[in-house]
Symmetry: C2
Subunit: 229 residues, 2 copies
DNA sequence: TGAACATTTCGATCATGATCGAAGCGTTAC
DNA sequence: GTAACGCTTCGATCATGATCGAAATGTTCA
C-alpha cells in the first residue's frame, strides 16, 4: 500500500526539532527574518541555525530572499502557515495530567498575529463582538459575514471585494491555540488586521509575533467593535 | 519568548517516524484498527508497533478501546484528522526536482475516504460535478451549498439538518493531496459518503483506506451526480 | 484450571541527526 | 583592494530513540 506516509514522516521530521519549531513559529506572522535573528529565536549558534534553515528551505517550507549580505527567510506559502496553525492547535492541547499546560508568554496570549489576521485574546474578543452584533456567523468548519457585517466593515473603510485573481474566501474560522476558541481568519480577518495596523490600533513588537494594543486601539476595539477587552 | 514551539516540536516528533506516520495515515478513515493490523501497516514487529501506539495514545493522538483480548486504536478527535489532512497536503507537494513525486497506490488515488468524506478522483469528481450544476460554491477557505444543492441532496434522501448539539458546518473545502484539487468536506461531504456506503455505491476495502466503486456506484455517480468518472 | 492468543514490557544494540569550533565564501563599504 | 560582516560548509562528537528477541501480562474459552 503506497501512501504518502513516508513524505508525511519526513515533513514532520523537519518540524520535530525545537530549534526549527521555534523558527517556524516565529515566522508564523508572515514576515521575513534574517538568519541571525532566527538563530537567536532558536537558541542555537548561527552555524546550526544555518543548517536548520537550509533544510527547511530545501524542502520548500521556507523561501529565502537575499538582500545585500543578509538572507531573509519567510514561510514559503500560506499553505504552510495553515498547516502549522493546525498543528499548533493540537500541540496546545495536552491532556496528560502530569504535564503542566504550556506556559505562554503573556504578551503572546494577549494579542498576536496569526499569519495575516488577529489572534490571542484580542482576536477572539473581536470575533466574539462581531458574532454578538450579528455581523458574523462562525463555527468550527466555516463562517459567513452577514449583511450587517458587510455594512459594518464597509463603514470602517474595508473593501471586501476580492482581488480579481483571488478566490480566497471571506471568512474562515481559525482555532486559537492560546485561547482554545475560534477567531476570524480569511480575507475579512486579514482586512481587519491590516486596518488595525494602518490606524495604529496595534503595533508589531520588534521581536516575537506578539503585538501591542495602543491606547487608541483599546478605545477603537471597545467602541467601534464592542469588544470586551 | 515563551511559545508553543516545544510542544509543536514534540508533536511533530510523534509523527516523524515512518511507522507512526503509516499508522496515523491508516487511521485517517476514522475507523478503529487492532494493534496487529497496525503493526502490519507500519511494517514493524508487534512489539515495536505497541511501543509506537503507546506513545501516540499517551499524547492523546489516538484513543484505545479494548474488546476482548484485542485493542482497537482510532484517531482521538476530528481535530487530529484535520491536522493530518493539512500536513498531508503539504507533504504531497515536494518541489525538489530530484525527488520523484510520491508514487501513490492507484486504488488510493482512485477513491478513498478522508476521515468521513470522499477523496481521491471520486471525491474531486463528485465535488466538481456539484459545482458545475451550481449545487455548490467552494474555494480554498470555505464553501456553501446553494438552494439547488440543498434540494438536490434532499431528493437523494440526505437530511441536512444538524444534530441538535452539533455546530458543525455544512461545507468545508479539503485539499485533496493526491489530486491537488479541492473536494467537499464538512457535514455535507460526510453525508454523501454515508449515503454512498449505505447504498453500496462504494465499499471499504478490507485493508487500507481506499474504497472500491461498485458498478451501481459508477452509474449513480455518473447519472445522479453527473460526475465525470 | 489450563491452553491459546493478542499485546505489552524489558534489555541490549545500533543508526540517525543535532551540535559547535574552525574555516571558507560572498557581499558591501571605504 | 581590503577590511568587516553575515552566513554557510566541513568535520568530529555526542545524545536520542527505533528496533527486535525474550519474557511477562492479560483475556477468552473450554
Amino acid at each position: 500500500m503506497q501512501s504518502i506516509a513516508p513524505e508525511l514522516a519526513e515533513l514532520a521530521g523537519l518540524i520535530a526539532d525545537p530549534g526549527r519549531a521555534s523558527i517556524l513559529s516565529r515566522l508564523m506572522d508572515g514576515r521575513a527574518q534574517t538568519a541571525s535573528e532566527l538563530a537567536l529565536v532558536a537558541g542555537v549558534t548561527p552555524q546550526t541555525a544555518s543548517w536548520h534553515l537550509a533544510r527547511l528551505a530545501e524542502r520548500a517550507l521556507l523561501k529565502v530572499e537575499r538582500r545585500g549580505p543578509r538572507r531573509f527567510y519567510r514561510l514559503a506559502t500560506p499553505l504552510v502557515a495553515q498547516m502549522l496553525e493546525g498543528m499548533m492547535t493540537v500541540a496546545a492541547i495536552d491532556p496528560r495530567p502530569s504535564r503542566p499546560p504550556p506556559r505562554i508568554d503573556a504578551e503572546m496570549r494577549r494579542a498576536r498575529t496569526c499569519y495575516d489576521h488577529l489572534a490571542g485574546e484580542l482576536g477572539v474578543a473581536v470575533t466574539d463582538a462581531m458574532r454578538r452584533h450579528d455581523h458574523l456567523n462562525l463555527d468550527q468548519e466555516g463562517g459567513e459575514l452577514t449583511a450587517s457585517g458587510r455594512a459594518f466593515l464597509g463603514d470602517l473603510g474595508i473593501d471586501l471585494h476580492a482581488p480579481a485573481r483571488s478566490r480566497r474566501v471571506l471568512c474562515r474560522p481559525c482555532l486559537d491555540w492560546s485561547e482554545q476558541r475560534l477567531h476570524l481568519a480569511g480575507r475579512a480577518g486579514a482586512a481587519i488586521a491590516d486596518l488595525a495596523l494602518q490606524r495604529d490600533w496595534i503595533r508589531r513588537r520588534p521581536q516575537g509575533r506578539s503585538v501591542e494594543i495602543t491606547a487608541a486601539g483599546l478605545v477603537a476595539f471597545r467602541d467601534l467593535f464592542g469588544a470586551r477587552i
